[in-house]
Amino acid sequence: MAPIIQTRDLKKQYNPPDGPLAVRDVDLVIETGEVYSLLGPNGAGKTTTISMLSGLLQPSGGEAIIAGYNIATDPIKAKQVIGVIPQEIALYPRLTGRQNLRFFGQLYGLSGRALESAIDEVLEFIDLRDRADEKVEKYSGGMKRRVNIGVGLLHRPRIVFMDEPTVGIDPQSRRRILDAVLELKQRYGMTVLYTTHYMEEAQELSDRVGIIDHGVIIAEGTTGQLIQMIGELDQIILRVDNQQVPPAMLEQFGNVEGVTSVNQQDGELTVRARRGRKALPDLITIANNAGVHISSVRVQEPDLEAVFLHLTGRALRE
């Protein structure tokens, strides 16, 4: 079966010819029923990619096929199978939650009883039944986010685009949203394209993850595959704050058995080692001898954060 989302050389340059190249030659292949995360830092090109896939932005090059429809030449049909949940809350604050759902539902071609039952089902799903008839402007941030999600689900889309839906909300609401994503996949068989800069979210939710940086997908696969790719190294993070670190000390770090790389960023030394816990005493001794005070130590088993750091030399979150 053909993949439900497929892009070829998708590009976007804002304000050509001198504007930034926000997305460069992205080739995505996403299968039906998959949860696929685009993981990348601020400005990586996640929203731009989603905007092109949802027909909001005209790509500067390449093409995108959604459920068999080319988004550029067959936009109406493609949009009918997509549910878009934008990064920023996009609702009419003066309308109630229910009125917002009804309005957008009508634009998706729903009407009458079908519309009302879809609204009820969505209200159930986002757990907002009891507050549905209050104006959105009176909602808390978390409730607004949930209505924002609900609007994208009304017409039972086969594909859902969720752009950083958990930014800036409390842990409880965040948990609910993550559970909702899993439910969309498991209960409704929807395909989800999820973007985030939280590696834990990508790790928990995704069947596959694409790591995006400066508009390029620099690595792609299951979490396991990505970690394997960087050789399953542990990370030892030593907090040195703003002390001067002598280059000789970093050189000595590199000579400790099992250590493959040493990085210094934001008052932290990140040492990657095959067996981190074994190398740790040696590292501390070397630092003591160099007169560098270590204020804290963390040992991290490999994760997507490490993958990103390995690939870009930068932390995912600054």
Partner: protein, 423 residues
């Protein structure tokens, strides 16, 4: 098309959810219609000239006196074909060389719109008058027009005066004749008799009455407002101005929605961009129509006679509201922020409204201001309304201004649709 309506209705719902917007569409414009209407009541738009024909079938000194009295009674009522040529602003209603006014010709001139009304002095006028019998003059005019009303009032005034004089003359003539036969003994009886006669003569019916007959007149191209009604000016003018204010408000809404993300969200639903913009324009359009409906209804309640020309009024309103809706889209394309759009919209309205004659009739401003004023779409709208209200114009007579409005609208529409940024 259904989705276009859904968008427009949702927008109108949002608009009227804000109570203050009700105020801006109803209370405030109505107050201005009243104020401006009262201020301009009775003031004329330039020299008002109402040509009428007087058909004298009696040809007596008495009928000539009536014509003479009419000629001087009201400078705005021109009595054809007797009026002195060379009179300022005299309309073209003289008879051709050697032509005489007959009943048929008078009827023709009335239908053709050469004159607003025909007054017939019937044969036997003077005889009846001298005999103290009631006389009927016949006044024919198109009841849909307001101009003949002025003429009729003038005639009524003249006739009352002449009637009074006739009675007085007759009574004194009789008194003089009676003098010879009066002796001292009969004096009391004489006074009693004279008193009774006078009372009978002055009592109803008046010696001369005017019967009004109706006639259908062709629309006229006479310039100069015949009967200038303050409320006609103010209801049409304020409708044009408030429709512009409220419809231009659409620009700020569009930009706000782009910022709030609801416009991009509309764009990921399965509808085309032209449907989205169409829905937004329809919102502006319906609001503009509503504004006209409210204020023209208020005008009608205040006695403005839209006559038999409702279709022409509708055509003008449809064209003008298209123009301002297109202006709103162009404004949305040019302004960057909602505040800028509101400010520019208000500035545009407050310039174009007085310039175009929404506050006062353009006839009272200097010639160059009249020309300059036609930069404003409101001027073309008001021209069309004046043609309908004062000259009895129908759709053919307002085609000119309507075409101008449509052309201006089309230009703004093309600019707006091409330049508007959705993201």
């Amino acid at each position: 098309m259904r989705k276009v309506f859904i968008i427009a209705l949702n927008d109108l719902h949002l608009y009227f959810q804000d109570r203050s917007n009700w105020f801006f569409v109803t209370v405030m414009p109505i107050i201005f219609v009243l104020i401006i209407g009262v201020v301009f009541r009775g003031s004329g738009g330039g020299p008002a000239v109402i040509p009428i024909d007087v058909l004298d079938q009696d040809g007596s000194p008495a009928s000539a006196a009536l014509v003479e009295a009419l000629l001087t009674a009201n400078p705005t009522v021109i009595v054809c074909p007797y009026a002195a040529t060379g009179q300022p602003d005299a309309p073209d209603c003289e008879l051709a060389e050697g032509q005489t006014l007959t009943e048929a010709l008078a009827a023709e001139r009335l239908t053709a719109g050469t004159v607003y009304a025909t007054l017939t002095i019937p044969a036997g006028y003077s005889t009846a008058l001298e005999a103290g019998e009631p006389v009927e003059l016949v006044f024919r005019a198109d009841p849909a027009l307001s101009a003949p009303g002025i003429a009729r009032q003038t005639i009524a005034a003249v006739v009352t005066r002449l009637g009074g004089a006739t009675v007085a003359a007759r009574l004194s003539a009789q008194a003089a004749a009676d003098l010879n036969i009066i002796d001292e003994d009969n004096r009391g009886a004489f006074y009693a008799a004279r008193y009774a006669e006078a009372e009978a003569a002055w009592g109803p019916p008046a010696p001369i009455t005017v019967t009004v007959e109706t006639a259908q007149a062709e629309p006229q191209d006479q310039t100069g407002a015949a009967s200038f009604s303050g409320f006609a000016q103010s209801s049409a003018g304020m409708a044009a101005m408030y429709a512009m204010i409220n419809v231009l408000g659409l620009a700020a809404v569009l930009i706000q929605e782009r910022q709030d993300g609801t416009l991009p969200r509309l764009m990921v639903t399965p509808i085309s961009r032209s449907q989205i913009l169409g829905g937004k324009i329809l919102r502006g359009y319906l609001l503009g129509l509503l504004q006209f409906a409210i204020l023209l209804a208020v005008g009608a309640l205040l006695g403005v006679n839209f006559g038999r020309n409702i279709p022409a009024v509708i055509v003008v309103v449809l064209a003008y509201v298209f123009t301002i809706s297109a202006m709103a889209i162009a404004l949305a394309a040019l302004a960057r922020t909602p505040e800028q759009a509101s400010g520019l919209g208000m500035l545009a309205t407050m310039t174009l409204a007085p310039l175009g004659g929404a506050w006062w009739p353009l006839e009272i401003v200097p010639q160059f201001m009249q020309v300059l004023g036609h930069l404003s779409p409101i001027a073309w709208c008001m021209d069309a309304f004046n043609t309908i209200l004062y000259d009895g114009g129908g759709i053919p007579e307002v085609i000119g201004p309507v075409l101008v409005l449509l052309a201006v609208g089309a230009a703004f529409f093309a600019l707006g649709v091409r330049r508007f940024r959705y993201e």
